[in-house]
Symmetry: C2
Subunit: 201 residues, 2 copies
Amino acid sequence: MFITCLDLEGVLIPEIWIAVAKRMKIPELEITTRDEPDYDKLMKKRIEILNMNNITLNDIQTIIKSMTPLLGAKEFLDWLQEYSEILILTDSYREFAKPMVKALGNYALFCHNLEINEEGKIVKYNLRLRNMKKITIQKLKELNFVLIAVGDSYNDIEMLKEADFGILFRPPENVKAEYPQFPSIFEYAELKENIKEILTS
Amino acid sequence: MFITCLDLEGVLIPEIWIAVAKRMKIPELEITTRDEPDYDKLMKKRIEILNMNNITLNDIQTIIKSMTPLLGAKEFLDWLQEYSEILILTDSYREFAKPMVKALGNYALFCHNLEINEEGKIVKYNLRLRNMKKITIQKLKELNFVLIAVGDSYNDIEMLKEADFGILFRPPENVKAEYPQFPSIFEYAELKENIKEILTS
């Protein structure tokens, strides 16, 4: 029996922070782990910027609710769920990711969460688990599932390595070049064909 | 962060084998673990009865598709998913359970599976894992989730014991009497209140 674990942003939906930055016209929010490799510093900076601009969780959720999944993502998952359980594994937060995951088809969502104060402002992020994606794959393998993992970036590589089958979907050029052991796929139709082969192998 | 693991038959939908037995008018299919405590013998007997009566997987799936969830089950899950991830843990088979789980709201389904021959007949059942419910709870706890488990019968007790919060839903009298350490709840409204308290404790 199969479980397919998919990263969310970049694989199934657009990048949330980029959408918020653009909509709110706050270019500083476009910083990513490429600009600030220390995730803790990055998140603290993001939260500081939000609060300086009086942006609440509600404001962000309004933006997220107006976002749409990547074209073809939902149809791809509709097909996949007939053959494999689906789990969305993201280092994003339940408060951000849940509405998008419901729009995609209400799959299970393993992520982190935010702390919100009485004014609706984000005060803190809670990581449920370090190396969450990798460790989730390990535990699911111990439940005798066969694991397929699909991700697009550096923070997905450990998950792809741990899974029985790892696939890069729409990776940046450098990630694609650095990890030639994983197929790099750019269209859902091709992803479907690739997974079909795995399911029947 | 919470995950609520729920048994399927008896908790969210009617018993599948009972429905098949009644619809097909084959009383021998109503045998349960109470009549035949050895699950392997029970399942082999069920499969034998199906094949003697020329009943295919397709016939059973037709019956299952005509079944409806227990009254109030879907609304209860609709409410719960806002606060907790939901996982359906059942010792039934993907081929039986998946259509019902989709009707309930497309939650993650951890179960076993069947082997089907070219004629569409069930030839074998595959247990993905022994003590699946209990071990699943263990692994999810290792992922730093807080676990709520809801079940109705003897085969749920280990799961309820392993979870942070175990709840019996509509248990038979003997199960209720034997395990007074778990609250025995009979209505979804009460189940909702009980879980609400856990979520805010």
